[in-house]
Amino acid sequence: MPRPSGAAWRRIGGRVAQYALVLLVAVSLNFAIPRLAPGTPIDYLVPSEQVATITPEQRERVLAQFGLEKPLLEQYRLYLTGILRGDLGVSAQQGRPVVDMLLERLPWTLVLVGGAITLATVVGGGAGFLSAARRGGRTEAWGLALFMFLDSMPPFWIGMLLLVFFSGYLDLLPVFGALPTSGAAGGFGLTLEFAQRLVLPLVTLTMVRAGWLFLVARSSLAGELSEDYILMAEAKGLSRRQVVLGHGVRNALLPLVTAVAVEVGTVVGGATVVETVFSYPGLGRLIYESVLSRDYLVLQGAFLLLAVGVILANLLADLLYPILDPRVRAESLR
């Protein structure tokens, strides 16, 4: 294990600084897109049904409200300070602060995305390691084919089929929304209801993401197992099991960590469509809703929040690397 040292702290500090830079770029992109897009700002800032009927005075007021008559640099400064104060603007449709709307949806997406990544890593990664360790078996062939198929199916399609079977035919699980719109079930009943509605989206997302992690885990362990140090470990007298677990899997974890970190972005994307299919009240569904209602500030806010999440996941992976691989550790300390 790495001893915490001045150098290690400097490295962590460097990483954090780099990701802060990434975040700044993401924010800037968010700032730039609407200003580079065709059309006038008014199109994006007032409810779409009012765009045609807006009066010149209203127009001025909206422009002033968002500081759009100021020079671009000043606008950018205002935008940044606004974000730092946690101000992402007000929803054109609902008239509520965007931040409030996001925070309301965030826990739902966190549970769905976090759960799906964890399950997909355990199931897909575990099966991938198993498959690589047992090359040549019939199980391997079927496992590989199964996960390749899973990896190839559109998440929303799997979601629709699950709906057909579990809700349409079996009538087992509720279909729409993670919480009853009416109904006064509180406490335990509420938790149960929530768990029920989480099941299908979670299963869907896990199914589609497990395939990729299976393939990564499998090929990375297969690669490690063909290395010379594996032969040496066996020649020392370790059993195949000890060799595979203690040496192979240990070393194959590094690519898997990379894959899982990169995976976060994809799972978030997958969550967007899956949430839409199941009407699950997370950020993805909010994005879809704000696209339909042309609520651009909400759309941008949701996108920014998801970006922050993915950045944090990547930062975590970067900090984990050196713990797993001393070669990287030596490199980063150099």
Binding site: P34, E140, V164, G223, D228, T258, F303, V310
Partner: protein, 294 residues
């Protein structure tokens, strides 16, 4: 199933779809844009997969949709793989400031959850297929780049890369002759992966109603099926199932092809699956650690 057989299966499936796409006007029984029967018609001899909510023939829609889906998948995958491999190899091999700059670029792109970003872009820029290809292609190269780089990092420490460098080979030569061959399986896998991802992204965007409204892809067919709640009636069987199967079949054929390719170029990844007849030949791997055969 041996790798070679997987490759053949994949190539066959893909070929079928390419043929369908090229000869769509001949193969399709009806004009998918026209209303040729009753809305929501159940399958019949004239309309094997029934009709959608407007009365358009679903089978013909599927056949024409393969054009859009395949084009988007192939073009974006080429774009993204070339970009990703170049950035990954140069960054991982040279390291230092070049790598830092490239990887920060990669981080920026990877830090932007691309489906939401694409939704944002589509919402602001307007929906058309060329925009779609560019936006998908210019966003998804980052993932292959990063994975290829992390393998290059270990490849460059390997004996013969070090040896080639020590003998004074130029960086370009070492990258092309020593690093590239070692990461080719990963590059091939990443081509498959990006084709997979871009077909899937196109389908997802179309499913959310964000694709070009005048060009219907498989995802767009599912958008209408979902909007009309086809999954609550028997219509799911001919309206929901077939487009998804098409997407899955094309993506899986890319995956099979990529797998076979991987096997061919990198014996380490070869599967030693039992063939029906021992020593029947095809797909039987060469031993890995065996100087007797070099």
């Amino acid at each position: 199933m041996s790798g070679t057989r997987m490759g053949r299966v994949g190539a066959t499936i893909l070929l079928l779809f390419v043929v369908a796409a090229v000869f769509a006007p001949i193969l399709a029984p009806h004009d998918p844009a026209l209303r040729t029967t009753q809305p929501f018609a159940a399958p019949s001899f004239a309309h094997p997969l029934g009709a959608n909510d407007v009365g358009q023939d679903i089978l013909s829609e599927l056949i024409f949709a393969s054009r859009l889906s395949l084009t988007v998948g192939f073009v974006t995958a080429c774009l993204a793989t070339i970009l990703g491999a170049a950035v990954g190899i140069v960054g991982g091999y040279l390291r230092g400031p070049v790598d830092t700059v490239l990887m920060r670029g990669v981080d920026v792109i990877l830090s932007l959850p691309f489906l939401p970003l694409m939704i944002v872009l589509a919402a602001f820029l307007g929906q058309n297929t060329t925009n779609l290809i560019l936006v998908i292609g210019l966003l998804i190269w980052a993932r292959p780049a990063r994975l290829i780089r992390s393998q290059v990092l270990s490849v460059r420490e390997s004996g013969h890369v070090q040896a080639a460098r020590a003998m004074g080979a130029t960086h370009g030569y070492v990258m092309v002759r020593h690093v590239l061959p070692r990461v080719t399986p990963l590059v091939a896998a990443q081509f498959v992966r990006t084709a997979n991802v871009s077909i899937m992204l196109e389908a997802s965007l179309a499913f959310l109603g964000l694709s070009d409204p005048f060009q219907k892809s498989w995802g767009a067919i599912l958008f209408y099926a979902n909007a009309r709640s086809a999954f609550l009636t028997d219509a799911w069987l001919w309206w929901v199932l077939p487009p998804g199967l098409c997407i899955a079949a094309v993506v899986v054929s890319f995956a099979f092809l990529g797998y076979a390719l991987e096997e061919r170029v990198d014996p380490r990844l070869r599967s030693t699956l039992p063939t029906s007849e021992p020593s029947s030949g095809s797909g039987t791997p060469m031993p890995v650690r065996e100087d007797a055969l070099r």
